[in-house]
Structure formats: C-alpha cells, structure tokens
C-alpha cells in the first residue's frame, strides 16, 4: 500500500491522503493492478480525498467501489474532492 495515498477499490476515482499533501507533489498509487500518477494541484489535508481522474459535473464519485456522491462542478485530476464540489447521491427508497 502506498504511504501517501490509499485507493480502496479498483473502480474508485478518488484516493484518500494518508498525510498532508502539498501543491505540486507528484505521487504514484496503485489502482487495481496498474500504477497511476497524479500531481497534487492544491493543498489536501490528511484523510481528505484527491481526484485520480478528471470528473465532469454530475459524474459519480466512487469510493469503496460504490457511489459516494455526485460532482457538483468539473473536478480536475489532482484537485481536492470534498463538500465544496461533491453532493450526496440521490436517495432511492425501494431499490426498484
């Protein structure tokens, strides 16, 4: 496991920072079988998330291989992913 970033599931498009990340840092992390490189584009606190790919507005944010939210604006790879650019997914009531 990477000491900088943690990706839970191969489907995920965000990673969790395992230490405070500085703007401009270039990090590598394993996603599934391959290594992905990402450049940090703004300071990201420990425990917060970074985008591993470019996300369009309305696109699903995936963590644990599941939908944890929807992007409320375009999020570029390397940016901080949090409440300022993500909202909760729509609630479904019956699973139908």
């Amino acid at each position: 496991m990477s000491p900088d970033l943690l990706v839970v599931d191969a489907k995920d498009n965000v990673a969790t920072a395992l230490r405070p990340l500085e703007e401009g840092e270039r990090l590598e992390t394993k996603v599934g079988g391959s290594t992905l490189e990402v450049t940090v584009s703004e300071p990201i606190a420990f425990g917060h998330k970074i985008a591993l790919v470019d996300l369009e507005r309305g696109e699903q944010v995936l963590k644990y291989g599941e939908v944890m939210g929807l992007a409320t604006q375009r999020i570029a790879r390397g940016q901080h992913v949090h409440v300022h650019n993500v909202k909760g997914p729509e609630t479904r009531r019956d699973g139908s």
């Binding site: 420990f46 917060h48 963590k63 599941e66 993500v86 997914p89 479904r92 699973g95």
Partner: protein, 385 residues
C-alpha cells in the same frame, strides 16, 4: 476451527460463565446493586426501565431483558423485582425458565424492606454462583459463535483500516459456519443499495429497504434531514464528504457475505450467517441490543477512542490508527493502524482479528473487561408514562 467454551442446553455455547443480578425495574436497582456488591463474582446490570412502558415498547423491553439474561455467556440469573411493576420478577422469571435459563427471583415488596431483600438476595446469588462455578470449558466449533461488529467514535481511517479488517474476520467466521451481526441503521443510509444487493432473499431485500426508509422517515418527522446533520462538522473536517461515504465505510465491518436475515432490536436470529439488526447507532444501546440478540463476543472499532464494554460479552477494541493505539494501549486490544504503517495487510489483520476472537472466546480477558467496563443501556421506542 475450535475454541474453548461452555456448552449450554439447547445447543448454544457461551464464552463466559456469568451469574447476573438483574433488577426487573429501576425501583429494584439499588437492592440489586447492593446484592451484587455483597457477592463478589456476580455481575450487576443496571438500567432505568421495567415500568411505564407504552404499547409495543412493553414487548420490546421484555425481549431486550430476556435476551440479555439468556445470552449464552450467562450461566444463571437472580432477578430482583419490586412487586408492583409492569415487568415483575415473576413475569420475567417464567420467560427465562421457558428459555431454559437457571433463575432465582426475589421481590422486594414481599420482604421486610431493603435490608431483608439484600440478605435473602445475597443468599440466592451465592447459591447460583456455587451451582455454576464448576462449569468446564471444552473444545467447541467456531460455528457456535456469533460476533457483533460495531464501530464508534470513528475517524476518517475507520472505514479504511479497522472496519474492512473486521469485515475480513467476519467473513472468516461465517465461512466456518458461524454468524456475525451488525446494526446502526442510521449508518446504513446512503448504502442501502449495496446492502440490498447482498440480500440472500427477496424478503431480506424488502426488509433492508423497510428499516432504512423507516429510520429516514422518523428523522424527517422530527423536522430534520439526516443529510444535513451527517456527516457531522467533525467528520467533514476529518475529510468525510457525504452520508453515503460514511455509511459505505461503516458497513464494511460486517464483511462481504450475503445478508441472510434482518432482525428487530434484541431479536435472536433464526439463521446462521451475516445478520443485520435494526437499531440506533448509539454505542452502548447498540452493543446491548446485539448481545441481547445472542452475540457472545463484540468487536468494536474506533478511531478517536471509546472505552465502552459490556457486562455480558467481552468487547475487543480495535484502533483504526497507530497514534490512538500508542496513546490508549490500556484500552485497545488490536491496532489495525498497522495496515497503514505497512506492517500488515487487510487480509493479515483480518486473520489476526479472527485469531483474537477465538482466544477471547476461550477465556482471554479483553482490555475492557480488565478495566471493568460494563456499560449497559436498552433502546427505548416510546415515551415513558
């Protein structure tokens, strides 16, 4: 896979051999507490219920109390009643006997006040201890175990280290034919889809949607939206963004096997495997409910640190990060933070946890037991009258 446990009647197996002194109503609590103090080796269970229950709360309370007193870790029970209460020692005593539990009862109003009740009660408690203290542990298959999975005082790493490691251990136990149970319905909201997709039957799928929708509605009926309150400001500061993210991390503690049954609070499952109990996320209330449902061992993950235990079941504390472990070594049994330090993988940490569950089931004391943590609180579902 085997552990050293106590065989009870009707095929159930215990990992402790407790004699409980249980007040059936709060008005008998002081008498019960004094009896337990006079008879070292007995365990006192304090609570504030037993009277004034409206409607279905009465059945709910009976189920929680009978469940607690018939957990297989309990060898015998002294019920201490007042006399005029709703849930009398006579009423609960009959239910415990029907369930095959060894029970004695004492009713304070039939005695000459507190002093005599304590004296007579202590005599009965000593008799129960003498009868049950000779029980011997014997090798028993792990399939006889039901482990309760719980997370509380969580941090941003709980869902990444301790919870998934506990999930691995739950998967291993279920593969051995045993059971795992988890609850905290409010922390399933946003992850309903994931849980429902793992339902072993249409009925379980329906029940998962039913309990999550009902919890959501109850919160809405108070004029609140859980999606505004959760994640909490502290959660957000720590990096959790949405309720769904929090829930997805929370449900990892139950592992990845099909969900075979959804039970009510304190209700005993009828099937082996992974079970969901409908209940609140309150730490002590949820642990009490899962132990009343029959869990003999609790595994409790924490990121910020909480010391709570149970008077009936050993509680294994798992830290999600190494700094908590270093500060709280007196409270934490296993450090899942070592996954991030590169010393362990989720898989190896899950195996270590499973081994710890079997050792604790065989008699190894947990830190919560050594520290005397015996928190106990029953969920209420109606106003008290």
């Amino acid at each position: 896979m085997k552990f050293q446990g106590y065989r009870r009647g009707n095929g159930r197996v215990g990992v402790r051999n407790h004699v409980l002194v249980f007040p059936t109503v709060i008005c008998a609590a002081a008498v019960a507490e004094k009896i337990a103090r006079e008879v070292p080796g007995t365990v006192y269970l304090g609570h504030q219920h037993g009277c004034g229950h409206l409607g279905e709360e009465q059945e709910h309370m009976i189920r929680a109390m009978v469940g607690s007193c018939t957990n297989p870790n309990v060898a015998g029970v002294l019920l201490v009643g007042l006399g005029c209460e709703m849930l009398s020692a006579e009423l609960l005593g009959e239910k415990l006997r029907d369930a095959g539990q060894r029970v004695e009862t004492i009713t304070t109003q039939e005695m000459l006040g507190t002093a005599e009740a304590i004296g007579k009660g202590a005599e009965l408690a000593r008799k129960l201890l003498e009868e049950t203290r000779g029980a011997q542990r014997e090798p028993i298959e792990a399939s006889g175990l039901m482990v309760a999975a719980k997370c509380g005082a969580s941090d941003t790493l709980s869902g990444l280290t301790a919870n998934p490691a506990l999930g691995v251990a739950c998967d291993m136990l279920i593969k051995e034919g045993g059971s795992a149970i988890f609850t905290e319905t409010p922390e399933m909201l946003g992850a309903e889809q994931v849980l429902a997709s793992r339902a072993a039957s249409e009925e379980v799928r329906r029940r998962i949607w039913e309990i999550t929708s009902r919890t959501d509605d109850k919160i809405k009926a108070l004029g609140l939206d859980i999606r505004e309150a959760e994640p909490s400001p502290g959660n957000i500061e720590a990096g959790l963004t949405t309720l769904a993210e929090k829930s997805l991390g929370a449900i990892r503690k139950g592992g990845t096997t099909p969900i075979v049954e959804v039970v009510d609070y304190a209700q005993r499952p009828s099937t082996k495997g992974l079970v969901i109990m409908d209940g609140p996320a309150h730490d002590v209330v949820s642990v009490t409910g899962m132990v009343a449902a029959g869990a003999q061992v609790v595994v409790f993950t924490t990121g910020i640190g909480t010391p709570v235990g149970s008077p009936i079941a050993p509680v294994i504390k798992v830290s999600s990060n190494s700094s908590l472990y270093q500060r709280w070594q007196g409270n934490i049994d296993v450090n899942a933070g070592s996954i991030l330090d590169g010393e362990e993988t989720l898989e190896s940490m899950g195996q270590q946890l499973f081994a710890e569950i079997l050792e604790v089931a065989s008699g190894k004391l947990t830190k919560a037991e050594m520290l005397g943590h015996r928190e106990f609180a029953i969920h209420t579902i109606a106003p008290t009258v």
